[in-house]
C-alpha cells in the first residue's frame, strides 16, 4: 500500500516539476485555451445572451480540447531518454504510477481551467465570481474522469505514429458521460442553482470517476508493459 502511494507521489511530483520547468508546456496550454476563448467568441457572436447560454458547453469543449493536448504531453516526456523503460523496471504494482499520472494531469488541467474561467470572466464581461467554488468542484470531478480514461489511451498511443488522431478518436466517445454531466452541473453552478435537483448527475459523474480510476489502476500495468 505504501509502495503504491510512494510511487504515485513520486510520479505526481516529478510530472509537476518537469511541467513547470519545461520551456514549452503549461504556458502553451494556457495560451491555447485563451485562443479558444477568442475563437468561440468569433464563432458564437457578440450577443451576450447567446454566449451566456452556450457558456457551460463552451467551457467544457475548451477543457476537453486542451486536455487532449495535455494528455499527449504526459507521455511524450516519458518517451525521451527511454524514461518509459525506467517506469517499467520499477518493481511492484504499477497502479501507483497510474494514480500519479492521473493526479498530475488533473492538476495541470485544473490550473488551465481556472485560468480559462478567469479569462472568460474578463473577455466576455461576465461576473463569474460567485460561481467559482461550484465550478471548481465540477471541474475537479469532470477532469478526474477525463484524466482517468485519458491516461490509459495516452500511454497506448504514445508509441504509435498516428497518435494525434487516434487519441481523440478512442477517448472522446468514452468520456461523453463526463461531458454531459459536467455541462449540466456547470449550468447549475453558473445559475446559482442548488445541486440537490441535479443529484443524479453528481452520482453519475462521481460513479464514472470511481469506476474508471479503479479500472485504470488495474489495467495500467498491462498497457505499460505491452
Amino acid at each position: 500500500m505504501t509502495a503504491v502511494l510512494r510511487g504515485a507521489w513520486a510520479v505526481f511530483w516529478k510530472d509537476l516539476v518537469v511541467e513547470r520547468r519545461a520551456k514549452e508546456g503549461i504556458n502553451a496550454l494556457a495560451f491555447f485555451a485563451i485562443l479558444l476563448l477568442f475563437l468561440f467568441y468569433f464563432a458564437v457572436g457578440p450577443d451576450r445572451d447567446r454566449i451566456r447560454a452556450a457558456l457551460p458547453g463552451l467551457l467544457w469543449l475548451a477543457f476537453l480540447l486542451a486536455g487532449l493536448l495535455g494528455l499527449g504531453r504526459a507521455f511524450a516526456l516519458e518517451r525521451e531518454n527511454d524514461c518509459l523503460d525506467g517506469l517499467i523496471l520499477a518493481p511492484g504494482d504499477k497502479g501507483g504510477l497510474y494514480l500519479g499520472k492521473v493526479a498530475g494531469t488533473t492538476a495541470v488541467m485544473l490550473a488551465m481551467e481556472l485560468a480559462f474561467i478567469g479569462a472568460t470572466g474578463i473577455f466576455y464581461n461576465l461576473d463569474l465570481w460567485p460561481a467559482v467554488p461550484g465550478l471548481c468542484l465540477v471541474g475537479l470531478a469532470g477532469t478526474i474522469g477525463f484524466a482517468a480514461v485519458g491516461t490509459l489511451f495516452a500511454a497506448m498511443t504514445a508509441q504509435l505514429r498516428a497518435r494525434e488522431v487516434l487519441l481523440p478518436v478512442l477517448l472522446l466517445p468514452l468520456v461523453v458521460p463526463v461531458l454531459l454531466a459536467a455541462v449540466r452541473l456547470t449550468e447549475d453552478a453558473l445559475a446559482g442553482e442548488p445541486w440537490a435537483a441535479s443529484l443524479p448527475w453528481w452520482q453519475l459523474l462521481l460513479g464514472f470517476d470511481v469506476v474508471f480510476v479503479v479500472a485504470g489502476f488495474l489495467t495500467f500495468e498491462f498497457v505499460l508493459e505491452a
Partner: protein, 224 residues
C-alpha cells in the same frame, strides 16, 4: 458439420425475419413500420451479448495471455460492430416515417451511435498497432473500458434527453404486447443470437487457422 449448422441458422433467420415482416400482425398505432422492430431489437440484444463476450474475453486474455482469448475477442468485436451498425440503420429507418428525418437525437439511437464509434475504434486500434501481442493487450483494455462505459453512456444520454425533450415513441418494449408479436420477436432474438454464435465460431476458427499458417510460414522448414 458446420455447413449444416450454418444452413440451419440461416433458415432460422429467414423464418424469423419473414414472420416479422410478413406474418405477424401490424401494430395498432404505427402500422407496418413497426415491423422493423423484429430486426432492430434482436440486433441490439445480440450486440450487447457480443460486447459482454468481448469484455469477458478481454479480461481472460490479460490474465492468461492465451492468444485463443484474443481471437474470441477479435471475433466478438467485429460482430459487435456489425450488429450495432444494423441496430443503427434499422433504428434510423424506423424513425423516418415517424419523424420525417433520418436521424433523431433519440436517447437510444444516440447511445447506439456512440457504441458504434467506440467499437469501430476497437477495430481501428487492432489494425493500427503492428506488434500482435501489443495490439491484443491494448484491445483488451479498450474492450474492458468500453463494456464498463456502455451502461454509463446509456443512462447519461437517457437523462440528457428526458431533461431536454419529452420521451420518444421509439420504445420497442411495451408492457402489453400482443402475444403473437411477442412470439415472433422471441423467435427473431433466438435466430440472431444463434447467428452470432455461429458467425463468432467461424471467425474464431478462421483466425486460429490464420495464426497457425503464419507460424508455419516463419518456421525454418517452410518452403514457400
Amino acid at each position: 458439420m458446420s455447413r449444416a449448422v450454418g444452413l440451419g441458422v440461416g433458415a432460422l433467420l429467414v423464418a424469423g425475419v419473414a414472420a416479422g415482416l410478413g406474418w405477424a400482425p401490424p401494430d395498432a398505432v404505427q402500422g407496418n413500420v413497426q415491423r422493423i422492430m423484429y430486426i432492430h431489437v434482436p440486433a441490439i440484444l445480440t450486440a450487447y451479448l457480443a460486447i459482454g463476450v468481448l469484455f469477458v474475453a478481454s479480461i481472460a486474455y490479460l490474465r492468461r495471455r492465451d492468444p485463443a482469448w484474443d481471437r474470441v475477442a477479435a471475433a466478438s468485436g467485429e460482430l459487435a460492430v456489425c450488429f450495432i451498425g444494423l441496430t443503427l440503420v434499422t433504428g434510423s429507418i424506423w424513425g423516418k416515417p415517424t419523424w420525417g428525418t433520418w436521424w433523431t437525437w433519440d436517447a437510444r439511437l444516440t447511445s447506439t451511435a456512440l457504441f458504434f464509434v467506440i467499437y469501430l475504434g476497437y477495430l481501428l486500434l487492432r489494425s493500427v498497432v503492428e506488434d500482435p501481442e501489443r495490439a491484443a493487450t491494448y484491445a483488451a483494455v479498450l474492450g474492458i473500458l468500453g463494456a464498463l462505459d456502455v451502461p454509463i453512456i446509456h443512462f447519461s444520454v437517457q437523462w440528457w434527453r428526458t431533461l431536454h425533450q419529452p420521451a420518444t415513441v421509439l420504445r420497442p418494449e411495451k408492457p402489453t404486447m400482443d402475444p403473437t408479436m411477442l412470439a415472433v420477436l422471441a423467435l427473431n432474438v433466438v435466430a440472431f443470437l444463434a447467428a452470432y454464435a455461429y458467425l463468432a465460431g467461424r471467425r474464431y476458427r478462421l483466425l486460429t487457422l490464420r495464426g497457425q499458417a503464419l507460424i508455419a510460414a516463419e518456421s525454418p522448414d517452410f518452403k514457400a
